[in-house]
């Protein structure tokens, strides 16, 4: 059973190989009557696009989205919203040397074993290009969140040994977008930029971290006991290329804490939270990261994602071909040396998809 669909009610099905004619997706379950047009999707796609700064891959992907269905006179119909993005800059010839070679820490080998066949050109289905589909799908989910003033905002919080703790900052999209690294602290951003320059000159790459915040989320989202809000976020994030870690609230930092420090006391709130009965309660701290028992509490949800170092490095590497013969590999071409700045858009998109799905799921509960 294949796994190219995410979500239960608000669902995105993704398709396409990086060097086939298109990549694309189908959003099913988007409520009718929401304003949607190409420009809105394009805006988010442009944030993921490489080639916008010297920090990112210089591949010129245009990433122009085309809406194929589900929208009529500028409004969603409630029918599936299909879209495609053409692969205009594909140069399959570049990849012929990789037909029988397994790049280290890439999915070449595992795809071959799993399917017995693969499109070796640029990773095919395993290419990070696929995340553009997530960004497009997420931008449609965001339209639903906007109606309820729910805000999803991510930033780069770590590169190599350099890091920033965004829990102490007031995150604003304009500030985050003001530097190429999407780091909310401009001083740390400068240091990160310097570090990336060094790494790039070495022909190397680095691991990184993305932080994400969801604001104005109503209390009550998340489905015990297996589809908890944090659990679905974790799955969504770990499904992003190169993501290998997730924590919510205190997360791994909470291991060394005591219950008396960590517990978030309930306090009355004047405003009344999400407007529901029983939601006139707040907490004076938020180590939980906005979820209790897998259900949102009305506090901010925040989480972190770790990304492994980009496996495509220009340094010479030892590896093996399909027959097990040793190969010395030098990967040419255009590659990011750090994933975080572009992953910010993908993390937001996946968070939007999870949130939209749970908003609709809660409608079936109460």
């Amino acid at each position: 059973m294949a796994g190219n669909t995410t979500g239960k009610i608000f669902r995105l099905t993704s398709f396409g190989e990086s060097h086939g004619p298109v990549i694309g997706g189908v959003v099913d379950g988007c409520p009718p009557g929401l304003p949607l047009d190409t420009a809105l999707i394009q805006q988010e796609l442009d944030r993921r696009r490489p080639g916008l700064s010297r920090l990112a891959s210089s591949r010129q992907e245009e990433d122009k989205v085309e809406l194929l269905s589900g929208v009529f006179e500028g409004m969603t119909l409630g029918s599936p919203i299909a879209f495609i993005i053409r692969n205009t800059d594909s140069r399959p010839g570049d990849y012929e040397q990789l037909r029988d070679v397994y790049r280290p820490s890439h999915a070449d080998y595992t795809y071959q074993v799993k399917y017995g066949i693969r499109d070796h050109r640029g990773g095919g289905r395993s290419s990070a290009r696929e995340t553009a589909v997530r960004v497009a799908g997420g931008s449609i989910a965001r339209v639903l969140l906007n109606v309820q003033h729910i805000e999803v905002i991510a930033c780069t919080s770590g590169i190599g040994k350099l890091s920033v703790d965004p829990r102490n900052l007031i995150l604003r999209r304009e500030e985050i977008e003001s530097n190429a690294l999407r780091c909310p602290d401009p001083f740390v951003a400068a240091e990160m930029e310097a570090y990336l320059d060094t790494i790039r000159k070495e022909g190397d790459s680095t691991g990184s971290e993305v932080f994400c915040l969801i604001r104005n989320l109503p209390a009550g989202l998340g489905e015990p006991v297996f589809d908890k809000f944090g659990a679905d976020l974790a799955k969504a994030m770990l499904s992003i290329n190169a993501c290998n870690g997730f924590d919510i609230g205190s997360g791994f930092r909470g291991i060394s804490m005591k219950g008396s420090e960590h517990n978030d006391p309930f306090i009355p709130t004047v405003e009344g939270g999400s407007g529901r009965q029983d939601s006139n309660i707040s907490t004076s701290s938020n180590h939980a990261g906005g979820v209790l028992g897998g259900i949102t509490s009305g506090q901010d949800v925040y989480f972190r994602c770790s990304f492994k170092p980009v496996p495509s490095i220009s340094k010479e590497q030892q590896t093996s071909d399909r027959l097990g013969k040793p190969v010395t590999l030098k990967i040419s071409g255009r590659h990011d040396s750090c994933i975080a700045p572009r992953a910010v858009a993908v993390v937001e998109a996946m968070a939007c998809l999870v949130t939209a799905d749970h908003l609709l799921r809660q409608r079936t509960i109460r």
Copy 2:
């Protein structure tokens, strides 16, 4: 849309409140012809059971599993396997004081907001008692894994500031089970025990970490692009009560690494891996944690889970009732001061469920 079922092919549906007559589950999709009896399930359940040592809660839950269906003359039938565990030690009276009070960092409040009603007795559906159902379900999944010699083994790797790195150890279940903490290093285990004694005397609790290893896993499991093997593990773990973090392979530790250090070179292997064509390849390191592109590589899968400090502490706490009125709360009763030692059984169970599900999913691919 509720969320009490996990898995796509090998599925567990969980039911039951901690102070209702029973908790239980239904496993659907277990292949026919596998040997299964009550004793085998009971053995795993006993590992999760509290009251076995002074470290755990002294509540005497018997946790006797009863098989209701799906097994005939000692073999699985291919039909749903239902089981129940009676709640023999329920003392609902203990909980009357909690009918209208929200315990800090518990799910009392969020259940109330989500459903507009809740069983306040011992957390009801949100109680950690529900994890017994996961352990029972996981023990059935393990029968399927045993046929393929796949081994799932977890241990306590961190409590407070004390930790051990199990990647450097050869994990054996007998050794792990030999101390009450299920820590694979006996010296660290002794320190942890001393620390827990202190914490308990303070009426406090602590966060903790569980490490898990899956050995002898064939290459090729995991479904791009959303149901990656690591993504499904992440969701499964984050769905466990109090789990708030997950990483696989280098995870958060990989952020500070370079690609040239982190990449795992492919090397030929003499033995031929899982026996499939194209699986005669190994890697000389395993920073990936056994997954590439979301698909198992045939190397060991290993991951970590963080657990927040147990919220039920005997120290006096400030909180609020349903009307927003401040309440001073002193939680009496029987509670663990650290989750990891018992969570080890739950983490293993969830890993068994995910692995069994993906084994069967791969049968539909190739």
Copy 3:
């Protein structure tokens, strides 16, 4: 991938073999705050129970339902509602002769081929006893329908060559329940009863038909393009033991009609239908059976189900054992000679489950 769960939002998972300890089910996705108790479920179960008249099997199944979870102080919690029905009257010894023999037109053979193993006692999982679980599940769905005054009512409309067209009658449950055949026309009922007496004396059985009506259904239910309201009803009905035909509205009788006769003209309605904007429209005829494009129109939904003759007859039959050796079989024991009267309760239950599911699905649309 096994198939023991029905529904997408309001879901019933069924388990149990006819001669194991219990049969039972888990309803997940039932909204919280609905009144539910054992008596309400028992009332429906009693309608399905055999042994109430000389027309039905004389097996004395008590069919006492026990609620295991999901209900607290008489109200649904929003958590899974599990229930069991004990198999008190199981006499497994009766069935030893059937261990290796395939009864004609029973599922003995196909279960053996599919699973390589089967519980041969009374059909095991394939026994019609399993339908008691559907009736219990359906009675929970009906609680949700009651809130919206949706009424589901079925009756026997055909036995052998005797039939009645319930489209011309005003169906009332009291009248239908007033005769053992559940036929809405007492004169036809008497003829049917006489026919069944003859059949029974011959040691034979007969095919039959059940008609079902859903009243007060709001317009707008059903999910294009694959989960149309009629499509989900069709699947639900064909999943009932011995059901081998379904039609909705004019159905097979519409084949010989012309479009100009069959089309249902839209007319304005004074009352305003379901209260939604755009629902102030009715139709002057209802050949469509209350669905257009797979979506309910606000008119009555009605459909028919055909049931094949009961395969268990006391007449001597020729068949084969597992090795292909011819066997002369005489089935003893207690068996209905006609399914319809008891199937009425099962058809209603499945219709309630489908309707509840689509009611909740529509909440995610608009």
Copy 4:
């Protein structure tokens, strides 16, 4: 929760409005390594296409399929197979008069109520044009069936009062395709053609029936208790536009039969059926239609589908607009007067999809 995906393992997601830029689909779960190209899909699409004879609508839809993903060097990759068909002959202006009018027995009204918005042009999402996506998807499923020599073949079995019983004929595709009606009996075909000529001159339409046969199906497919093989076929067929009835095996004709006539005795078979152990058994009759207990028996599966009269007739009709105002409607344009001949391709496609899905599901059982 929307319903644009069919299947559990072999899944088709459909998208597109009849007068948007394209209609299309995504097949997920198709095994890798199967030969697939555009020509193969096009061949099936051409069978559904209108305008091939004077019997069908004269709209010239080109229905050229384009493959977007999932195929590499002529073989399926195991990744999603997306395809589109452009709507080249759309003349939206034709439909402006229908913006606020509900055509009798069309889905205009129910779409409006369900979604609060609709694309009124040619039915939008509710148009029969959507079935082209099913035919394309079904042709991909058929590639999988071909590997196992499973044959799916349908024909027109009834138009108005004229009918043929294909159970008495040996169905061959060439013969069926040799007349425009796809009726397997050329004499009845001629009568049907004459009847359709009359109907067409009247500006009217007629109901019809399609018969379908699945040959060489292995025993063991179908998932008790809800996803029985016949149940999934029933749902698939009732999801086709205008289909309002389904029966399998004796179906509605079995109501008047006795058990002693209807039961299919098991007999040994020389050849050994599907090659599995336990499948060396056949039956001497096949009233069951190839399924017992919802599982295929290895005998031919056969079923019938009824289609209501085409609602678009050129005769003048009375109906209502959105405000409930009476309207006299004369539908111009190009419409079939009978669905069956073109529906033959759609019924086959849906049967292929269901069969492919259950073939893969059985791989997870045994």
